[in-house]
């Protein structure tokens, strides 16, 4: 697999490859399931799991809701050779920090790592990664794991509002508020607004049409 985050010749994130991978995941999901909004997380997880399964075994992915008083992070992926766990924040009862749409986004962001990351972008120095995440400094050392963290939100958007259904979002926007679209697609309103922004539309069209 071609590394997305460690292209030494350009030291740039290949957004077109990110979008191509997301399109491929969605196409794989659509082979077995009906593709419609909201994108079902169990089907997405099943598809990612199938991509990572090997001839010798399955690759189970556990989604673990936990209430640890989340503030500094809301999701945590731990990937093993033959399985993965995604811990995400869930406070039972109404809580705007972890409403369903945001939880779905957090999980999808971590699922994106499972399909995008190669061994080059695996985190070997977790404390160093934490330093990179909390320090608002440029990634001057071009750490591939940190680059992956920076681009995975984009992949989550491309998986939850996939390119192949994007025309539906554009159509909905003609008559519906961003909030209504968000409720319909079960994604954070902020993501709907992002996708409908002229900047993102141009960027996404360019990246998705590249492959």
């Amino acid at each position: 697999m071609t590394p997305i985050f460690s292209d030494k010749s350009t030291s740039a994130i290949r957004f077109d490859r990110v979008c191509a991978t997301c399109k491929d995941v969605i196409a794989q999901l659509a082979k077995n399931r009906k593709l419609e909004f909201p994108i079902r997380l169990d089907w997405l997880t099943e598809t990612v799991s199938a991509r990572l399964a090997t001839a010798t075994g399955n690759f189970p992915i556990e989604l673990l809701a936990k209430d640890w008083g989340a503030e500094q992070f809301t999701g945590f992926l731990s990937r093993y050779h033959d399985h993965a766990k995604i811990i995400y924040s869930y406070v039972p009862g109404p809580n705007p920090k972890t409403n369903t749409c945001w939880r779905r986004y957090v999980i999808t962001k971590e699922l994106a790592h499972l399909v995008l990351d190669t061994t080059d972008s695996f985190t070997t120095d977790p404390v160093g990664l934490v330093e990179g995440l909390i320090n608002d400094l440029p990634n001057i050392r071009n750490r591939a794991d940190l680059l992956s963290e920076q681009v995975s939100p984009l992949a989550a958007i491309e998986l939850l509002l996939p390119w192949s259904l994007r025309h539906q979002v554009y159509e909905m926007a003609k008559t519906m508020s961003h909030r209504k679209i968000a409720e319909s697609c079960r994604v954070p309103e902020k993501i709907v607004s992002t996708v409908l922004s002229s900047e993102y539309r141009a960027f996404s069209e360019f990246a998705n049409m590249a492959h």
Binding site: Y80, V127, I134
Partner: protein, 67 residues
């Protein structure tokens, strides 16, 4: 929080505990960790690692509405 490693070395800081957890899990096949960050404006490595340790130790809860 204390974390006793396999060679019985007690780790006392949260950062050391997280690093020890990571080393221990690597022996079980862990190859990668990633995070979805929240509000890290006032975070330190120690405070972030403390939260990671809490998340690891927390019990799972039922989330009926996620799919």
């Amino acid at each position: 929080m204390n974390y006793e490693t396999s060679n019985n070395t007690v780790k006392s800081t949260e950062t050391e505990c997280f690093a020890a957890w990571h080393a221990s899990e690597k022996e079980k096949g862990l190859v990668d960790v990633k995070f979805c960050t929240g509000n890290v404006q006032h975070s330190t490595v120690e405070s972030f690692c403390a939260e990671v340790n809490r998340a690891i130790a927390a019990k799972t809860v039922n989330d009926p509405d996620i799919l």
